[in-house]
């Protein structure tokens, strides 16, 4: 079975390689067929392996020092279901893309990158050691980088992909540090040895400030650092506070990409990592997870309320839902979290594809009439339900699942999380009760913003006509490439796929796959009161939204220009804050260090150089004027004497005589006097 899984992983890689050499429209088919085959293999693997224990094969990759690095495939419930999930999401998106990107000049390049992403994502799911995990973790980020910046001439797009990659890199560094801490503690990268049943992690404990493992012990702080590292990685990939700001910007990529990567699969990788590394978190660390997740969910929901960009609303919705999952992990609702991951993937992907269809049609209108509008702005849309009925139905299903209305998959997973949140808060002090209450509020906000979105887009009248009344509107559901994925995903958003009982999440097979049987008892009142109460409130909220946006009653509780609106509209000013707090200081630091390099270090060197130069000049001066000067003086004296003596050699006999006489006289006088 492991080889089936391996083949499923490698097929998109094959497509990637083939597409690398291929030009033209064929690449779309290559990728789609590859993902289709991969999906078939994934189904086979799933059938054989799910709930069938762990399958693990590995081969020696390389040896470094005494450590042998194995590369292998690890299949358990978690990886198998994600393998299937990724394929199931990727297939409709591929089909959708063939139409959506059909007119792009770099069609082939798009599918090349898409295949690379699928390969990385599938591989990430099945690999069995931390090094490979990190490798594909980063490759996923890289392919996402390529796809966000696919329209590389768009300035915002390339800014966004840079931001995404760097944000993700922060997480990567955290993950790397965590992996290395684990390696230095346990001397292995193997996932099973580390996190498996009775693995090394479960054998180690913290005592007296030391983190004691079977083989070695290091200060306990490194356990926290490892956890923080993993958590940073999760935050980056799954767009949790404080590293969430890249995801809304990432919407600059093609919508199909947003559907696949930034809604369903890649962002889920963070949750997947949490699932893999779950054993290493202790209670207090889990509490932190819960708080962060809860905060993120709430924050993103409030931001989504005021956004006008169709995709941005969905992006914040994604952040919010991922917050739910992280919180679920934090409250030890491991199974619910993964369950929500699966259901969310389908309904969010569906919503994005709906958005894709709508945007595509709006773009069409824009191009046809040469309008100067943003095709993603919901303020220009409206009344589309009659023009694109299938899309409308899909949107309703997706929205319902997101809100968690009964009969949808979202109801099963989301209410499960909420119920367990209340149960969890019961066991803790009263302060912790704020978390489930916040989650309830977030759910209501979710209902409001998604209702706003659907009402703005599909109800009322087409507001483009306000801009230019005489536009030609050829708006429809599009071809089969649009319809098939929507239908496929809509079906997956309904309850029968996950559970035969539409009301009880505990009966879902996904939930059961991750939860041992004894937890399935309905122990308290929450199991009844929360779904009922929540759904009633949700319906009220949706009606309220209907009243505001469709019937256009003036019922908004606050005006559009007060501080709360601005705060929400500007996404809580995170971008500005990060820019001021991190980007600018780092740039300033680098500028300062460069100045230091040029001025101080180089200055020191050139100072030395100057000193040397000066010394040599001094030596030169000394040489020239003192030593040479001395010699010159001697020669000058000799020359002077010579010239002086020469002046006697007049050739005049009388002078000679005179001087001879002078000497004689002098001698005489000398003799006489002495």
């Amino acid at each position: 079975m492991a080889y089936h899984a391996l083949a499923a992983v490698l097929l998109p890689l094959l497509a990637f390689v083939i597409n690398g050499f291929l030009k033209g429209k064929a690449s779309g088919w290559v990728s789609t067929i590859a993902i289709l085959l991969s999906g078939v293999l994934a189904i086979i693997v799933f059938n054989h392996t799910f709930n069938g224990g762990t399958i693990h094969i590995s081969r020696l990759w390389f040896t470094i020092g005494d450590t042998q690095l194995q590369a292998g495939v690890l299949l358990n419930n978690l990886s198998t279901i994600l393998l299937l999930l990724v394929n199931l999401i990727a297939l409709p998106v591929h089909i959708f893309s063939m139409a959506y990107m059909g007119h792009d000049q770099r069609y082939g390049r798009y599918f090349t990158c898409l295949s690379l992403f699928c390969f990385s994502m599938l591989a990430l799911v099945v690999v069995d050691n931390m090094v490979l995990f990190y490798a594909f973790w980063e490759l996923v980020g890289f392919s996402s980088y390529l796809l966000i910046g696919f329209w590389y001439k768009k300035e915002v797009a390339i800014q966004a992909n840079k931001k995404a990659f760097i944000m993700n890199r922060i997480g990567d560094v955290g993950l790397l540090i965590a992996i290395l801490v684990l390696y230095s503690q346990y001397h292995t990268f193997d996932l099973i040895k580390l996190f498996g049943e009775g693995g090394l992690i479960s054998q180690s404990y913290i005592k007296d400030g030391m983190w004691i493992a079977p083989a070695s012990s290091i200060p306990a702080v490194w356990q926290y650092i490892a956890c923080v590292g993993v958590f940073l990685a999760v935050c980056a990939k799954s767009a949790q506070f404080p590293l969430h700001t890249w995801l809304p910007d990432a919407m600059e990529g093609p919508t199909s990409v947003s559907a696949l990567i930034h809604a369903a699969t890649m962002v889920a990788a963070g949750i997947f990592l949490l699932g893999r590394a779950f054993p290493m978190f202790n209670t207090s660390e889990l509490d932190v997870l819960a708080i962060i997740g809860c905060f993120t969910a709430f924050m993103a929901a409030t931001i989504a309320l005021t956004q006008n960009d169709l995709k941005r609303i969905l992006a914040f919705s994604t952040i919010s839902q991922l917050g739910f999952m992280v919180m679920a992990m934090g409250i030890n609702a491991y199974a619910s979290s993964l369950f929500h991951l699966v259901t969310h993937a389908f309904f969010k992907c569906l919503l994005f594809l709906v958005a894709g269809v709508v945007i595509h049609e709006m773009q069409h209108v824009k191009d046809e009439n040469h309008l100067d509008i943003d095709p993603q702005n919901i303020l220009y849309m409206g009344g589309l339900r009659k023009r694109m009925p299938l899309t409308f139905i899909a949107a309703i299903i997706g929205g319902a699942a997101l809100v968690g209305l009964p009969l949808t998959s979202g109801y099963l997973s989301k209410d499960g999380i909420l119920i367990q949140a209340f149960e969890w808060a019961d066991t803790k002090s009263a302060v912790y009760m704020t978390i489930p209450i916040m989650m309830i509020i977030t759910s209501l906000l979710t209902a409001f913003y998604i209702a706003r979105l659907i009402f703005k887009v599909f109800f009322g009248k087409l507001r483009v006509l306000d801009v230019k009344p005489a536009v030609l509107c050829h708006i429809s559901d599009g071809g089969w490439q649009y319809k098939v994925p929507l239908i496929l995903l809509s079906v997956c958003c309904l309850f029968p796929v996950f559970s035969l009982n539409p009301l009880l999440y505990e009966h879902s097979w996904v939930y059961r796959a991750f939860m041992s049987a004894e937890h399935l008892e309905r122990m308290n009142i929450y199991h009844t009161i929360i779904p009922v109460g929540l759904n009633i409130m949700v319906v009220v909220v949706i009606y309220y939204a209907y009243a505001v946006y469709v019937q256009e009653r003036k019922m908004l509780p606050f005006a559009q220009n007060n501080w709360a609106f601005d705060f929400s509209y500007h996404q809580w000013y995170f971008n500005k804050a990060y820019n001021t707090l991190f980007v600018k200081p780092v740039l300033a630091l680098s500028g300062g260090l460069f100045w230091f390099d040029r001025t101080i270090i180089d200055g020191f060197i050139s100072l030395l150089q100057n000193i040397l130069l000066w010394l040599s000049k001094m030596a030169d001066v000394f040489d020239r004027y003192v030593i040479d000067g001395f010699l010159h003086l001697i020669t000058a004296i000799v020359q002077y004497i010579g010239n002086f003596v020469r002046s006697f050699q007049t050739g005049r006999v009388q002078y000679y005589l005179l001087s001879m006489l002078a000497v004689i006289v002098a001698w005489f006088i000398f003799k006489t006097l002495i």
Partner: protein, 182 residues
């Protein structure tokens, strides 16, 4: 003060004065003629030193020979030579003569000093010769003695001198020939 002393003074005055004139004169011909006077005065001094023969020889050779030779030398050598020779000096005292004067003056002082220090009249051999009467007195003819000595004691120098004299004369004659003969 004997007459000899007076004569000596006169003679030496004449000699010195004419010599000074020679030194001071810018005219060649005049200085030559004043040199005659000097030589004559010197011959007188020789006589006073009881050397008659020498004095006569002095007059014959010097006055008769050398000076005439000098006069003839430039008189015979043509007019232009005389012109050159007689170019008058512009100044009596030239600054350039000062070093010479100084040196000569110093030498003079030195000489006089030496002479006075020597006290020639009381030199050992002079005193000896006075004691042994080996000095020439006023009376007596020394010429015979000179002749004898010349042929006996000083024969060799005499002959050498004569050969030298001849060589000099031949040489002088050769040198003063006209160019074309060379």
């Amino acid at each position: 003060m004997t007459a000899a002393n007076i004569l000596f003074d006169i003679m030496s005055f004449i000699a010195l004065a004419s010599a000074l004139y020679v030194a001071a004169s810018k005219n060649l011909v005049r200085s030559i003629f004043m040199f005659f006077v000097t030589l004559f005065a010197l011959a007188g001094l020789y006589v006073l030193a009881l050397a008659d023969f020498v004095a006569v020889t002095q007059i014959v050779v010097y006055v008769g020979g050398i000076l005439v030779l000098i006069l003839f030398a430039f008189m015979l050598s043509g007019r232009e030579t005389l012109d050159v020779l007689q170019q008058p000096e512009r100044k009596v005292w030239k600054v350039s003569n000062l070093p010479a004067l100084l040196i000569v003056g110093l030498l003079f002082v030195v000489l006089i000093n030496v002479i006075l220090k020597t006290d020639a009249d009381h030199l050992g051999w002079v005193s000896d010769s006075i004691k042994s009467k080996n000095y020439i007195a006023n009376s007596g003819d020394m010429t015979a003695n000179i002749g004898i000595n010349l042929m006996t004691r000083y024969l060799l120098p005499f002959e050498v001198i004569s050969i030298l004299l001849m060589m000099a004369l031949v040489g002088a004659a050769h040198l003063s020939r006209k160019e074309q003969a060379v």
